[in-house]
Amino acid sequence: MNAIFEGIGASVRRKEDLRFISGRGNFVDDINRPGQTHAIIKRSDRPHAKLISIDTAVAKAAPGVIAVFIAADMEKDALGGIPCGWQIHNKDGSPMAEPPHPILASGKVRHVGDPIAVVIAETRQQAKDAAELLDIVFEDLPPVATVRDAVRPGAALVHDGVTGNTCFDWHIGDKDLVDAAFARATKVVKLDLTNNRLVPNAMEPRAAIGEFDPMSDDYTLYTTSQNPHVIRLLMGAFVLHLPEHKLRVVAPDVGGGFGSKIYHYAEEAIVTWSAGKLKRPVKWTCDRTEAFMSDAHGRDHDSTAEMALDAAGNFLALRVRTLCNMGAYLSTFAPAVPTYLYATLLAGVYKTPAVYAEVHAVFTNTVPVDAYRGAGRPEATFLLERLMDVIAHDTGHDRVALRRQNFIPADAFPYQTPVALNYDSGDYQTTLTKALEYAKWDEFPARRAAAAAKGKLRGIGISTYVEACGIAPSKLVGQLGARAGLYEVANVRVHPTGSVTVFTGTHSHGQGHETTFAQLVSDQLGIPISQIDIVHGDTNKIPFGMGTYGSRSLAVGGSAMVKAMDKIITKGKKIAAHLMEASVEDIEFKDGKFSVAGTDKAKTLAEIALTAYVPHNYPIEELEPGLDETAFYDPKNFTYPGGCHVCEVEIDADTGVTTVVGFTAVDDVGRVINPMIVEGQVQGGVAQGIGQALFENAVYDDQAQLVSASFMDYTMPRADSIPNILVGTETTLCTHNPLGVKGCGEVGAIGSPPAVINAVVDALRDFGVRHIDMPASPQKIWSIIQAGRPQMAAE
């Protein structure tokens, strides 16, 4: 049917690219509404203080100012606070502490960046100038800067009434079984490690425009979101008390998300509510500095891991204790990240029979922490894969052999882990073997010697991982505390002349859905992708949807499309049977044609569609006209991508600067629809992982001031700090969704950080180094080299 193959498996060039390379993207800040006003948010520069008074009079009188709103104005309208979408229960069964999260700070500010007031003016500059005129009196309180500070006896309380700053103290696994295994172990290897705090930094800063139509009482919110329907639900039902039919949320082109644009943020509620008050559109666009102190951050764990081994190096049990940071307030999915997206992955790719993890989540005077690319799985992977190398170091095992010996074998799937998950498929030996082969692992000693001859320290490291994505079965996540279902929705509309529009509840902000999904539809319906449009990001167009995160779009959203297309084909067969006077059982659908088995009688999809919309000769008694079907798909399980990453580094002994000289990723992401896009997703994720391992760090000083709040202070990976990234795929199919797909959006960021640190530690193996926390900055490495210099001549 198609002249050029553009179905499943083809590296089709992206349909969305033309508008982006021509400067015709449609990002929120590119949108301007008639009569629009501009909002500036006044934020706290104090980490923790009582709000004694806010005098808005001078600001209100400034040129161009239309309104200034503070918390008290919102309280008059009885607005709700920002809700949290996930409830965790403590070890004793009691629910987590869930302190109020006001839209604008009320009574107290709790982190640098906490919004206090909104100033709305005719121009952005006027609003900015007026915001400087607000007179705010604070009474400083002692700040809580880190997780360690939060749990210190006598620590200040971020929220009055939240004892010990504890959000929850949760656990998973069989403690007794683990304790018993430790009691009979011949060797216990212990490692303390931190997972550094990161700022997601999508290149497009967040933005929002609220609009109110007094003729219909309808509100519209344009927002930089990964999930417009979720925002409509959270903001409408819990914050502004607006029914869904009166609220439209549009997320147009969005410039990257990486998790940070999942959450319902205060600014969305502020512009929507203000637009209703002022009867004029209100636009807000975030500055980068503002983004650093208001976008949800990621990671920030402090952990202790212990592995019990027998004499042969078999893992007997794993014990983990993690202290994690929630920040000052609970962001939308924050409680899920260090629990069900983290501790459930602590079996990893290993057949460790018993695992027990305790997770203590605390509040601090810092920006809220939530999911960032990988969300919990990078933290689990870093812990496990660092622990693997430390076990090898402490016991003298070869690090590859140790992993192989303990892998879950390929014939053991489906595999039930001791921490709740049931892996459906995987083959960790094969991805490891391939990765070592592509990375020329066996020839590494020669490369190390050559580097040494130039005075460079060369190291190589691996990481073997599994993750859980394709989020997620609604019933299961409901039991685990989610306050939402995590199915996906697709509406497939075949138009009268046979072209197709697909409305999906997922959202594309770089993933290339307009292309990948079109390929999927082309494959199933046998029409060229030029005849297919994918529409996302508008609650008025799409029936419903839960959005894009947790690498779920293809596994869940794509499966919903398959279900909807199955309905189209089933209906089409009935129409075809009527037209060709055959029985439905004899109709076959293939390559875009309905044919009568064993004859040359056939009708194209376009002919059937036309009949459906012009039903002159039609089985009207049994069948409604039209060819337009909607399906909801709720997955049966998570999907489990896995693989092996190999990193090779060279360290300049004089400066401590690490250069990544090679990176190989071999990932099993299930069936691949567009290899070009998958490769790009992995490369982007790996770059973020290298960023975490070597450069990035969100730093608070002991007064809880964010000192890395710009691109001058927060080191983003740049073109000259990232190598070429070799990507391979090895496929085992997902066994429970119709496409066999697993997801590729996060694997790069999940597998890579420990591979990098393992390589760095390997490069420094002659200096007696056992572990280095991220980021492995030149200063850290230089200090290690200085301390250990005498041994260097040995190589």
Partner: protein, 164 residues
């Protein structure tokens, strides 16, 4: 209110502006050329790169008044009148050098200037080094580097020997 006269994408404009208006604000807000983006407030990201008199400039780091009498080229002005794309635009699409597309206009404008400034050829390392002023959070740069290397011979009408 002062005014500025300049040519943008071949069209002359005279605009009244506040003196503190940045070139990027003039382009986006006064001329509705929203292809040029703002990704930071410290001149670090390069999302705002345009050409001023043929040279790439971070338009967030230049006052609009400083552009008086200049010839400015933005991403919207790159393709030919008949829609034929510039070879760099083509290369970005062909090599999947963009994901969310937010950094792309600045990347493309920087890349064109870089290639024109290096008629002698470029190694991969040269390209990476010259991209230092442009941040991309999506691609990991791999395909951007490939796209620029691929556009070089098309733009210079000869083979790129030095790259790879």
């Amino acid at each position: 209110m002062p005014s500025v006269t300049l040519t943008v994408n071949g069209k002359s404009h005279t605009v009244d502006i506040e003196a503190r208006t940045l070139l990027v604000e003039l382009l986006r807000e006064k001329l509705s050329l929203t292809g040029t983006h703002v990704g930071c407030d410290t001149s670090q990201c390069g999302a705002c790169v345009v050409h001023v008199d043929g040279v790439s400039v971070k338009s967030c780091a230049m006052l609009a008044l400083q552009a008086e009498g200049t010839d400015v080229l933005t991403i919207e002005g790159l393709a030919a009148a008949d829609g034929t794309l510039h070879p760099m635009q083509e290369a970005f699409r062909e090599h999947h050098a963009l994901q969310c597309g937010f950094c792309t206009p600045g990347m493309v404008m920087s890349a064109i200037d870089m290639v024109m400034a290096h008629p002698e050829g470029m190694t991969e390392e040269d390209i990476r080094h010259n991209l230092e002023g442009n941040l991309c959070r999506c691609t990991g740069y791999h395909n951007i580097v490939k796209a620029i290397a691929a556009a070089w011979p098309v733009m210079h009408g000869k083979e790129l020997v030095a790259a790879e």
